[in-house]
């Protein structure tokens, strides 16, 4: 499958500060989460993708072309910046309408798409109010709306969830998932792992300007083989399972909890096999088991500690 975005040895430094360090990645269709703490270089990386920032070294291609001042590429990219300040003199609808016009749409099309975008982000009722009267969440919705209004193939959203209320977040999660399912390439940056985890399994992790990991959460987890996996088992009779699991190779520890058992192992496949065998042989007193390490926060913590 062709990569939509490709970077090779992409680096950016401001004086002595390295913002992005030697990033070589390929981003494919679907939703990709760009994850990293504040100041890890996410926004600089995204700006380099758009050609808004000159790389100090390396190169970027989007749709096999350089993005800088390239109308063909920029026509197919929607961008939602991180910053909160917006053009207050206009209404939300006008803001999107004029950006559509700048993109190159004719008047009637720009109006229709601005209206559709407002509807898509739940701003129809307030779209004719001036932006100065909007809450932070409403501004965020309009900002996302202007990116969605364009007929793009690549959406770059820099911290799109910031300032949104829980309902708004849920709506945006669902929207991003549906866009990914439609075949659109979406890059969502965030410093909150939960947000990215809700919309995608495909992640790029950045830390201090460097690429820490890239791939599926589980693949990344598998890379950290020196670190034990944690499996949480919810069951009525944990002591029975302790006896069975102590024989599993690679076991590091077992811990009784109020709901069951927590297992730490270096060989999770063996452990899952033992659990399956146990359920078949002794009946199912296990109500649930899951791997805690699929949680992005855990992966992120492990990688940063490394």
């Amino acid at each position: 499958m062709s990569a939509i975005v490709t970077t090779k040895n992409l680096s950016k430094w401001f004086g002595e500060v390295i913002a992005v360090n030697n990033m070589s990645v390929e981003i494919h269709p679907g939703v990709t989460g760009l994850l990293g703490p504040n100041g890890s270089g996410k926004s600089t990386f995204l700006k380099m993708l758009l050609g808004l920032c000159v790389p100090s070294r390396g190169e970027v291609t989007i749709f096999d072309q350089m993005p800088r001042n390239n109308r063909e590429v920029l026509r197919r990219v929607g961008y939602c910046p991180e910053t909160e300040d917006m053009f207050d003199a206009l209404t939300g609808f006008e803001f999107i309408y004029w950006l559509n016009r700048q993109w190159g749409m004719e008047r009637s099309v720009a109006k229709k798409r601005a209206f559709d975008a407002c509807e898509r982000v739940g701003m129809t009722e307030r779209m004719h109010d001036r932006i100065t009267h909007y809450s932070k969440g409403m501004r965020q919705r309009i900002k996302i709306g202007q990116a969605l209004a364009l007929p793009t193939d690549l959406l770059i959203l820099d911290e799109p969830m910031s300032g949104l209320d829980p309902n708004g977040r849920e709506e945006i999660f669902a929207l991003l998932q549906s866009l990914g399912a439609e075949g659109l390439t979406v890059i969502v940056s965030s410093h909150i792992l939960y947000e990215v985890e809700r919309v995608t399994d495909e992640i790029l992790m950045m830390h201090q300007g460097s690429l820490l990991a890239h791939g599926h959460v589980r693949e990344i987890r598998a890379l950290i083989d020196e670190h034990p996996h944690t499996i949480i088992i919810e069951c009525a009779n944990p002591r029975k399972w302790i006896a069975r699991l102590t024989a599993v190779p690679g076991l590091i520890g077992l811990e009784l909890t109020t709901t069951g058992l927590t297992v730490r192992t270096k060989d999770p496949d063996q452990c899952y096999q033992q659990l399956n065998d146990g359920i078949i042989e002794d009946g199912a007193d296990i109500t649930a088991f899951h791997c805690a390490d699929d949680n992005l926060q855990a992966v992120f913590d492990y990688l940063v500690k490394r």
Partner: protein, 294 residues
Amino acid sequence: MPVYRQTYRAYEEDTRHHFRWSIVTAQDFRVLLKFRFFYLILILAALHLFLRILQVMSYSIAMQDPSGLLAGLVRQMGILTVDDAFYFQFLRLQGLLALLTILFAGSGAICNDVRNNLVELLFAKPLSWKDYVLGKFMTLAGLGFLLFMVPVVLLMLVHGFMIPEWETFRESVSWILPSMAFSLLHIIPISLVTLAASALLPQQSYAGACVVALIVLNRVVHGMVSVLVYTDRAMSGYYAFSVSTSINHLGERLFNQPLEHELGLAHAVVSVLVVSVVAGVVYVWRVRRCEIMQ
């Protein structure tokens, strides 16, 4: 076939490729219409125009009988006459309103876009820095023309309508080019200096104050040169250091008016050119810096 060729929602409608700058201009005008101060300036300009129309009408009525008492009175008063001087004085006064308008519209043109992160959003779209630079300039140039040329043409039409003769038409046509040139002499340097200040400074108020300070400094320079010339007339070329004096001087030459200062034509032209070019270079350089983070 690469996945990205299979676009998920094709765009079938027409796309605008030419005159992209005009969208920037149109948006700026739309934003300006939201401010009361802008309407106030337009009303002042309209009031000035209305008074001048009354003058043209009175003059035309008086001149319908050239040997009449009224015509003689108008000729004696001089101030009511519609001639080169009339258009020159009209444009000079209108220049003050144009300066106010350009200051109001231009001082926030770039810095507000930068502060509101609109620049980032615009340049992430298929809009080039050239479109942006030209679009912003054309907003101010358009405002200038609205305040200079539209009233001039209207006055000429009224004049022609009141005295529908070949001579009136010939006179009117002969005033169009000087009017246009004098308008451009006002619009280009003021617009570029205002845009350069807006691109250099972080806030609209700073940019506005900076341009006003430059105008005051210009008058101070004029005063200082006047003292020098008073003692040594050979130094009259130094008047070119005052751009406003140079613009006025060129206006006087365009409308065949008595020259207020003994300033050479080349000196005046170079003065206006240097200011325009320097301001233009600063403006473009700053926009390019905003467009791409180095």
